[in-house]
Symmetry: C2
């Protein structure tokens, strides 16, 4: 639990600086109640792993050196397991899809699998990014790596094909790159995320974005 809390706070940016958080927000992220989040934050602060201060009715927290050490240690253990990963960076511009993304992502068959295999609840919609030509080859390289596979399924008389996915960030926000097995487009990629990437990063058609794919 403490490790998860530290990780969550770190992902919110609490390394080296205070961040404003609410206990319900953290609770929701960790899948526990507001009350439990409050209690764990206090407990972790008492252990000296984070520093907590009240700001009016709200709180701000920051991870201490001791807390950071725990995260570094756990990261070290993962590195022993997986080695240093390949990270491929893609760049391109935001374009509008056909609005199909939304339709697909929310299809029960995919949505459940995204939850089970990618571990987030997808925002209903995909972000389409048209790659700059020099990145198209790199996109090909990604496809040579082992994906997380979302199985195809049938609904009514319609068949939905397999989708290959890879953990990725868009401008630093975590999500996944998804590639339908059957698709003719190889210069455009689709990203899904827990958040509305368009809103979070104020993206419009034509905005430059950076995608990092972790393999």
């Amino acid at each position: 639990m403490i490790e998860s809390l530290l990780k969550e706070l770190a992902l919110h940016g609490a390394i080296n600086r205070y961040i404003l958080v609410t206990t319900s927000q953290i609770g929701a992220s960790l899948g526990i109640s507001q009350q439990s989040a409050s209690r764990w934050i206090s407990k972790t602060a008492e252990m000296g792993l984070i520093r907590k201060e009240s700001v009016g009715r709200n709180i701000k927290v920051k991870i201490t050196r001791e807390g950071l050490n725990i995260l570094k240690y756990e990261f070290f253990r993962y590195l022993i397991l997986f080695g240093s990963p390949a990270i491929i960076t893609l760049k391109g511009i935001v374009i509008s899809g056909l609005g199909e993304g939304k339709y697909y992502v929310m299809k029960g068959g995919y949505r459940t699998q995204i939850h089970q295999k990618l571990f987030f609840d997808p925002y209903p919609g995909t972000l389409n990014v048209k790659l700059y030509p020099e990145y198209i080859e790199k996109f090909g390289e990604i496809l040579e790596h082992e994906p997380v596979i979302l199985d195809g399924f049938s609904e009514g008389d319609r068949n939905y094909g397999r989708v290959f996915s890879y953990f990725a960030t868009l401008n630093g926000t975590p999500g996944a790159l998804i590639v339908p097995e059957m698709t003719q487009y190889r210069d455009t990629v689709e990203i899904i995320s827990e958040y509305s990437l368009r809103e979070k990063h104020r993206l419009k058609d034509g905005t430059n974005v950076e995608i990092k794919v972790y393999l």
Copy 2:
């Protein structure tokens, strides 16, 4: 808990193959009882994250694709936090120290800090490795990175200086590289670990070893 269990089993080599384990062993690694370990292993198996089989009175386990996905996801989240780390590889041969390592590591002042900051109970002794000349420069590079600092302390009328440490593996076994702040030797490095590295890897003076330092 489940994440910790999966990580522990993975570090024991349960990715892609069955490993023989005992519930007490896993319990000890996780800091819980044999009974609890037994229950968690069964529960995790029921969830489909590991596969468990009985071998006589013992058990063997292996992580499933689903379990591996969880580990990959958590690793992905750490990568977002820390980025791809620098890993520096050093090679050299085992040599005998002056037997001082044992004396130092077990000194209360250091031992407690190793537990708190490096998260393992050190085997009483250090492994000394004399680097091949071509790796001495790389050792210098390591020292430019931020270490985990073990503070100096006084005991009786003797002063013990600060020690810089870095998470590292020796032939794949996790531990730490330690560098006393005040030392004249720059071609010899010391490694500590939870285990007796000499026994675990059957090392004798003169044996080649590989150290990977995670920065």
